[in-house]
Symmetry: C2
Subunit: 327 residues, 2 copies
Amino acid sequence: MNISDVAKYAGVSKTTVSRVLMNSGLVKVETRDKVLKAIREMNYVPNTSAQMLAKKHNKIIGVICGYDVSDPFFGAMNNYIFDACRKCGYLALFASSNGESDGCDDEIAMLYGKVDGYILCGQKNNLPKNVEKIIDMKMPVALFKIKYVKKGAISVDIDNRKGGELAAEYLYGKGYRKIGYMGSVQSGFQESCERHDGFAEALSQHGLKIKMYFEAKRDNRTAYKFADKVIKSGVDAVFCDTDMMAYGLVYALQKKGISIPKDIAVLGFDDVHFLNFEPAVLLSTVSQPMQKMASCIVKAIIGKIEDDIPYGESQVFDCRIVERETT
Amino acid sequence: MNISDVAKYAGVSKTTVSRVLMNSGLVKVETRDKVLKAIREMNYVPNTSAQMLAKKHNKIIGVICGYDVSDPFFGAMNNYIFDACRKCGYLALFASSNGESDGCDDEIAMLYGKVDGYILCGQKNNLPKNVEKIIDMKMPVALFKIKYVKKGAISVDIDNRKGGELAAEYLYGKGYRKIGYMGSVQSGFQESCERHDGFAEALSQHGLKIKMYFEAKRDNRTAYKFADKVIKSGVDAVFCDTDMMAYGLVYALQKKGISIPKDIAVLGFDDVHFLNFEPAVLLSTVSQPMQKMASCIVKAIIGKIEDDIPYGESQVFDCRIVERETT
DNA sequence: TTCTGTATTGAAACCGCTACCATTTAGAAG
DNA sequence: CTTCTAAATGGTAGCGGTTTCAATACAGAA
């Protein structure tokens, strides 16, 4: 069943049916109703590929994620992106490279022709090359939470440095003076470096230094193992620049009988909803406006797709402290 | 740039290029090489929509999930499905209804025309109606881990009852005799009911009964709150029919100074990899062969899509015990 | 040399929809 | 009752592939 059948049934031309379908507005009201009735009665759904072929786009945005989606933080992130797309009538087609492959050439190729634009998120190798490639293909690209500014590519991120400052100010304000930092600066995680810099700088404004730095991976497993070192270091608060770390640490400290936040306070970063199950770990954290950010990037890329709107190339969002029970 | 350009460049007809593209085999070797060379040199990629329009399919499978994807178990599940699709040259297009809406009519409609078949997974309302609807649309449907058998719909699941039995036998074998059960039988979760039945039955074979039943939601939060009740009940082991529950319980018990498994053993169900971070909670559990299952369902539905292969309508997999440190 | 059969190739129709342009219709103005 | 203009509708050419069917080439057989 196709548009011609509907046209025949409604006693009009294909063109008119198409116009009704597209809400083009130049159809007499009664004709429109006749067509709509036919569509309803025949249970007709237009063929997406044909539309795409004619219109040159799909209403699908490709999302290439360089992370493990079973990590609640990223799972939630994908959800936000999905919802933002849906609100605009788009679908999100996810492809995860799991950060394994060298770059994400495969993923880009897999999605090519099926999507109207690409959102890249998470850590990946060869990022510049990949972005370049997508731009060469004349496809819209947007970078979500990636530190890389490139003319022609939309970019949405938080101000990590400011986030770090915020954390430091907060802990200082609460009276903590022997403050530790857990992050992944040495392994070169940009976001960690920036948060660290902001944090250190803000502390130094108060004449303080980071009492002890703990280099961990960005997960709960390694953070967990640091419990003893943290205790021995004599800090009264630790800022973990990822909730997953904070979470692992809190868990380990609690198990060792440390009272949180009385003995040691813990502050996270990300606000991973899934982890904050009452009453176990009501983690204090630096929260990112993920929903707004997702909505922003999706709208920007759709603007680019549909109207080639010149968008603000780079959007930076602020974080805020969410005080719960670990500080 | 399109197939005609390539044809012109290579000095052959569109048809020949198309044949090369499709590996149809009726092209002379040297012609084929010529065409391949042209394709390579021009960096040509065929237009997916056009292919789809002509061939009648997309190489995309729609996955409608009625759960929260930021739950690590489901996040991982989606990953397995994605990988299985990719191995077969397909893409998975996820749409999550988050179990909120009445059924998943919206999701089915959103994906219509973009996908070659549907995989439904997770709890949802109005399941039979939705399955019926998809069958009426003449689209392949497959049900993943859903208890509903319908002629015309592929179904892949584990044997939950047997899983329950396995758990009981295992705990009994380890010498536990005062065994508790935490599940969602009263709220009517099919999978929980079946696991519970199998568990209870296997215990009764040994002249035992479930010492205490705890009705919880299928997450860590509520399970956490049961710690006191569990302790007071005097059990020496608890079988939680979901890892998330087991996890919440273990956490709470440890925090209260209970030694696991010496004082109380805990056995989970699902084998959620993400939660098993060393050395915090190395949860003993009933593991499902998720990877195999995902691969099975994807192959079945692709068979249906491509060759209308009469597939085994219903596949049931077995679980196995994974012993770690909580038993 | 001519004929027959098979291996290659190409022309054109088609997939279902949109977009451009032409045509018809209706209503207002003269 | 024309004439003119704007609104409504229809015809048809793409979009970029695949597929059917016909045409050609070439080999071996008669």
